[in-house]
């Protein structure tokens, strides 16, 4: 069980007021708020050990390098990767996907196929489209049903040995659907396709076990999981990372440089060119520690409670329709009220201190599927409360009254 008051006290921003009202932050799927331990760790890094890593002989550089590598090991343990060098630091999910999609030029040839799903974020669409355009490959899309669930039979029909990689999200950012990724991975492997899982929406909410999933790549962002902006992880199986060509050239990723030829460094450094976001990498470890101290099982259980409460309360509003009603979903509620534009609702509830996301959530194909311009999205985190959901419901009712 969570001590919600104690948890809220960990997040200084929750004491802020917005437009004269106490902040109700329901835009967690866009980015999470940061606990004080994370904020303090950022400051502590700069105040005590700031220096460049992996190259200095001086003590400070050694301390910073150690902290960075300790964080990598923490994350390795957290996602249950076999080796620490399978954990690459990135600037976030988008960076990780681009790195893999670029490298896959090596494995995707004309006439091959790349598969994504109908509920991907633009970041997990565009890099694959670019890959297909570069190589003359076809982009296949796993369709979804009216509830916002992937149609697995259709996935299996689309899957042939032409497919070189399947890239799907673990959890949809606009619908909240938890996808059956284990099954998808198994099936994809049976035709020899690699699988990348976009875990941006999963990392903050659930236990991750990349070995149990058997995915080839797993990416997520630190900023959605209580960590600093500009930090992120690309997990890749050692064999794949060895086969993938380097993404960016520069310092740190080399073993030896002459003008004739450069040989690349070992993993993970081969993919970590230039000075990385050192503070981000270190403090992402702090954020993971924090989430584990609260307990991801506790987080999941409490967020499910918020999801059920929020769903029930919001559905009491006349004309309110929830978009994304999968059996298996996380604490994301995307909705519309009658034919009121989401922008109007978002702007009015904002005046009451409530932060929701409105628009297409960078998933235009999902909105096209449901034939809507966008949704209002309330995404709950473990520091939110039922009282805050009540405030949202009251605000939406007020908006509805004003707008009709």
């Amino acid at each position: 069980m969570l001590d919600i008051n104690k948890i809220r006290a960990d997040f200084p921003i929750l004491n802020e007021t917005v437009n004269g009202k106490p902040l109700v932050y329901f835009d967690n799927a866009a980015t999470s708020q940061k606990p004080k331990v994370v904020i303090d760790a950022i400051s502590a890094y700069y105040q005590t050990i700031n220096s460049n890593i992996h190259r200095g002989v001086h003590t400070l550089s050694q301390l910073a390098t150690d902290a960075y590598e300790v964080s990598r090991q923490k994350i390795q343990k957290h996602i249950n990767a076999k080796h620490a060098h399978e954990v690459l630091f990135t600037t976030g999910t988008t960076h990780g996907i681009n790195l893999v999609a670029n490298g896959f030029s090596k494995f995707v040839k004309e006439g091959d196929a790349v598969m994504i799903s109908a509920m991907e974020h633009h970041s997990n669409i565009v890099p694959w489209q670019m890959l297909c355009e570069r190589e003359g490959a076809t982009l296949l899309v796993i369709p979804m049903n009216e509830r916002g669930e992937l149609i697995i039979e259709e996935f299996e029909k689309l899957l042939t040995d032409k497919v070189k990689i399947v890239a799907v999200n673990h959890i949809s950012n606009s619908l909240g659907t938890i996808n059956p990724v284990k099954h998808i991975i198994e099936k994809a492997h049976s035709v020899g396709a690699a699988v990348l899982i976009d875990g941006a929406q999963a990392a903050p909410h659930m236990h991750l076990d990349v070995q149990q999933l058997d995915c080839d790549f797993y990416v997520f962002s630190g900023h959605k999981a209580c960590g600093p902006t500009g930090s992120g992880i690309l997990y890749g199986k050692e064999a794949w990372l060895n086969m993938l060509p380097p993404y960016q050239g520069g310092g740190e990723m080399i073993k030896e440089v002459t003008f004739a030829k450069t040989t690349y460094a070992e993993l993970p450094h081969k993919f970590e060119a230039g000075t990385p976001n050192i503070e981000g990498g270190i403090v992402l470890g702090t954020a993971i520690d924090y989430l584990n101290a609260v307990g991801l099982d506790n987080i999941m259980a409490y967020e499910q409670e918020l999801l059920h409460y929020g769903t029930e309360k919001l559905l009491e509003i006349e004309g309110l329709k929830i978009i994304g009603t999968a059996q298996n979903k996380t604490s994301v509620i995307s909705f519309n009220v009658g034919d009121i534009h989401p922008y109007d609702i978002g702007a009015i509830v904002d005046k009451m201190g409530i932060a929701v996301r409105t628009g297409h959530h960078c998933t235009q194909p999902v909105m096209d599927f449901f034939q809507i311009p966008g949704t209002v999205r309330a995404s709950f985190s473990f520091y939110n409360t039922k009282e805050e959901i009540d405030a949202l419901v009251a605000a939406v009712i007020k908006a509805q009254r004003m707008l009709s």
């Binding site: 534009h341 009015i348 005046k351 311009p373 007020k398 004003m402």
Partner: protein
């Protein structure tokens, strides 16, 4: 005689000064949206659409005598209300006056956030488009 742009802006600021709370101001904006001279269907084309990430705006301008007359529409009600205010200010004015005018009065009526370039509701682009029409008609004359 047609009021000058500045006079209309002052008049609008005056109207909004009657309200104490944001909800009264917003309600007034919503009501003003209902007075917006709507774009005729034939002009509701892709060419006339100003895409924001959040809401769409259609704008059409035509020359009537030495004035530019605007009609518009939006799929969001608040956006429509703000368009109605902007059209009231800029429509039926001479191109030179339109080009000279600014929109600082929006701050005074407490709607600044809707005209922020980061809001992605199409309004900032709409003002640019209004000025483009004015510039085009001025060049033509």
């Amino acid at each position: 005689m047609q009021m000058r742009i500045k006079e209309i802006q002052d008049e609008i600021v005056d109207e909004f000064s009657m309200f104490d709370d944001w909800d009264e101001r917003y309600q007034y904006v919503i009501d003003l949206g209902k007075t917006l001279p709507l774009v005729e269907e034939q002009y509701k084309t892709d060419e006339n659409i100003i895409k924001g990430c959040q809401s769409k705006v259609w704008l059409h301008g035509e020359q009537q005598g030495d004035k530019v007359v605007f009609t518009a529409d939006s799929d969001a009600i608040l956006t429509k209300g703000i368009i109605a205010i902007l059209i009231r200010v800029f429509s039926n004015q001479a191109p030179a006056d339109i080009l000279e005018a600014d929109t600082a009065f929006i701050d005074e009526i407490g709607l600044k956030e809707h005209l922020s370039p980061t809001r992605a509701n199409g309004l900032v682009s709409m003002i640019k488009q209004i000025k483009m029409y004015a510039l085009a008609f001025q060049a033509k004359n």
